[in-house]
């Protein structure tokens, strides 16, 4: 893991269908300035900038770090651009953290964004490449068969996905940045919504959002200085890992991917986690379609294989449950794709910093328990995760 690393500043934009009031540069700068303000710093204090987002076709801007260097105060500094599909927000945080853990930099600004209103993600995901046929299905059509396989394997009741959709949308009501806010949401409303990709209904899928998130990551010395200056505690990185596996390998289990299990095992080993459900106070997990909550509950070791849905059904993952999943409302409530993974990482950090506001999980602030940030992407093949805590590792 190298040197200690901590989150000392978090900034998010409001997530909306269309942020017509800002350019792409304005959007990322809004998040960056809020993160710097939280850390009590300015751009001048930053050593390095790491930018992440999903495919460039989502906005129609290639290699946007070149254009965004000015807005992110990167001139004269190193700047990286990470792209690891849907997991990119998480990967971007880890690439930034790596620079601190390596002892290369003291303070790194990591930023992730998507301005989906500039283009059309389902079109961008469905273009016909010169070498392979396009299915023209977007992400929902791609993942629906995996979900059906999960339901068949686990014997889960058909309403579990709808329960997740209701839970995460109720959580979003406590999050000022959340995109979707549906105050009177209930199971009946979800069930009545249109079936998009069987078994995924309209209200069981994530929105398309404009938005950006930024974090300031710092060395131990810089984190202690920021804590003293702002009074806001850092979130210490206890474990961090990435794992990838091939999309097209026969025999791989795309419902319960080994890369996800291995990635979690690596993070848990670093953080000393042997009982995730007990040792984490909260988890922010990439759930773009409702059924991915029970699927990831199993993949991440919070439940035995085939039993993830029972935690959801029993309310264990609700805000008042023993292990709240996505107290922010999650990807189901806000989805600027390239930023969605980093939002998970940032929300996990805010929980252990005690800075999550109305969706603060009380058990996360005493320092005894950790919070998990998780992202996945591609054909359920790219994973990035971290475990953060209020105490130094």
């Amino acid at each position: 893991m190298g040197n200690r690393c901590a989150v000392i500043g978090v900034g998010q934009t409001e997530y909306r269908t269309k942020r017509a009031d800002v350019s792409m540069a304005g959007l990322v700068r809004e998040a960056a300035l809020r993160a710097l303000e939280d850390a009590g710093l300015t751009f001048a204090d930053i050593d390095s900038v790491v930018l992440g987002k999903a495919p460039d076709m989502f906005e129609g801007v290639a290699t946007p770090e070149l254009y965004l260097a000015d807005a992110l105060g990167a001139a004269g500094k190193p700047m990286m651009r990470v792209h690891t599909a849907g997991s990119v927000g998480g990967s971007t945080a880890l690439v930034g953290a790596s620079q601190v853990q390596a002892g290369v930099h003291e303070r790194v600004l990591v930023v992730a964004f998507e301005k989906q209103s500039e283009s059309n993600a389902t079109w961008a995901l469905s273009t016909h490449s010169p070498f392979s046929a396009s299915l023209v299905v977007g992400a929902g059509g791609y993942f629906a068969p995996y979900i059906r396989a999960y339901i068949r394997r686990s014997g889960a009741p058909g309403n579990i996905g709808m329960m997740v959709a209701v839970k995460d949308r109720i959580n979003a009501l406590r999050n000022p940045y959340a995109h979707l806010k549906i105050p009177n949401i209930d199971l009946a409303m979800v069930e009545e919504s249109m079936m998009l990709w069987d078994p995924i209904r309209y209200l069981e899928t994530c929105p398309s959002s404009d938005g950006a998130v930024a974090m300031v990551l710092a060395s131990e010395r810089a984190a202690e200085a920021a804590h003293a200056a702002t009074g806001r505690p850092p979130a210490w990185v206890h474990g961090a890992a990435m794992r990838s596996e091939p999309m097209g390998m026969s025999g791989r289990d795309s419902v319960d991917p080994r890369a996800g299990r291995d990635c979690a095992a690596d993070v848990y080993r670093q953080a000393g986690v042997t009982e995730p459900r007990r040792q984490f106070a909260a988890a922010e997990v990439y759930v773009p379609f409702s059924w991915y909550e029970p699927m990831w509950l199993e993949n991440l070791g919070f439940a035995e294989k085939g039993a993830g849905w029972k935690l959801t059904e029993a309310g264990a993952t609700a805000f008042e449950g023993d292990i709240p999943w996505n107290p922010s409302g999650g990807v189901l409530s806000s989805n600027p794709i390239g930023a969605s993974g980093m939002i998970r990482f940032a929300e996990a950090a805010q929980q252990v910093r005690g800075q999550a506001g109305e969706h603060q999980v009380a058990a996360a602030v005493d320092g005894a328990r950790l919070a998990l940030g998780h992202a996945y992407g591609g054909g359920s093949q790219f994973f990035a995760m971290w475990a953060v805590g209020a105490k130094k590792p």
Partner: protein, 318 residues
């Protein structure tokens, strides 16, 4: 900092026409070649990082297909930059500094022959004010060439681009004793730094490269003579500018490999500079070399890597 070296390098037989090879076809033989050269098994690689650009072939996630070929099973610790793979090498070098892993595989690939370069390069510029004008990389380079000409440099103010190229490259990095075990003459990375400048060329002095100069300073270029330099010069006028900004004198041989003018597989071109420079150490023909990679209009973003042989003695100098 841990001592980390380039211990193996391979590149494709670059092509100026589309031979029908996919990115995966380009990458896989090179991965096998660098693994074979070091005797390392796939399972011994601690971290993998690649660089590519989705727009070259007009499809999202072009790096996913390449991952299918490198044997990512059991699952590997892996990441990707949408930048030249020289920046993937930087990320891998940083990762090795943590101390828990000793090796990394880096690769980059580009199918330049199937896309419209003026259109694609323009999409990499400010999307509101510059990209709609579709200036393209050649016209932007022309502005810099003209600025240099007007400032008294002996350059052609009407630059021509290198031919579109398909190709790929792969490098293995190794630390300390592992590097010595798998390579008879490791090319030690003694300095590695990169810096970006404002995007708007009106905010820059185009007759110098402030970011290349700063990266060179941070990488310690001036602490010794540079025998060979591999520079990411896609246009002829960039050599004189970079020689000046990097502090290279007339004794430094630039682009002995032929350089990007002879083979420019976008997103691998910068990594090839590092590989070619390292090869001068590997074959014993040099003791201290420099590699440079760039991105963006008019050399906006510059990376500098200083590589050295195990021991630099006066006898070792050419």
């Amino acid at each position: 900092m841990r001592d980390v070296a380039v211990v193996a390098f391979a590149q494709s037989a670059h092509s100026f026409s589309d031979l029908g090879w996919t990115e995966a076809d380009l990458v896989m033989p090179l991965v096998n070649e660098v693994l074979g050269a070091t005797g390392l098994k796939r399972s011994e690689i601690g971290f993998t990082c690649s660089g590519s650009n989705d727009y070259l072939v007009g499809t999202p996630f072009s790096f996913v297909a390449a991952l299918d070929t490198i044997g990512a099973w059991p699952p590997i610790a892996e990441s990707h930059v949408e930048q030249d793979a020289a920046w993937a090498l930087y990320e891998a070098w940083v990762r090795i500094q943590h101390g828990d892993i000793d090796t990394a595989l880096v690769y980059g690939f580009g199918k330049g022959t199937v896309g419209d370069h003026v259109g694609i390069s323009s999409l990499g510029y400010d999307p509101y004010y510059l990209a709609p004008l579709v200036p393209g990389h050649v016209a932007m380079a022309g502005l810099q060439a003209r600025a240099l000409k007007d400032a008294g440099f002996d350059v052609d103010p009407d630059p021509t681009p290198p031919p579109a190229t398909d190709g790929a490259a792969a490098v293995i990095l190794a630390a300390g004793d592992v590097a010595r075990r798998v390579c008879s003459r490791p090319a030690w990375i003694r300095g590695l730094d990169h810096r970006i400048e404002p995007h708007g060329i009106g905010a820059r002095d185009l007759t110098r490269s402030a970011s290349a100069a700063l990266a060179a300073e941070r990488a310690g270029v001036a602490t010794g003579p540079v025998e060979f330099a591999e520079l990411h010069t896609r246009f002829e006028h960039e050599e004189v500018l970079l020689r000046q900004s990097l502090g290279l004198d007339e004794k430094t041989v630039v682009n002995a490999s032929g350089g990007p003018r002879k083979a420019d597989p976008i997103m691998a071109t910068g990594l090839i500079r590092i590989g070619e420079a390292a090869s001068r150490i590997h074959d014993g023909s040099a003791a201290r070399v420099l590699a440079h990679a760039t991105a963006g209009p008019c050399l906006q973003h510059n990376l500098v890597c200083v590589l050295e042989a195990d021991s630099i003695s006066p006898e070792g100098k050419r």
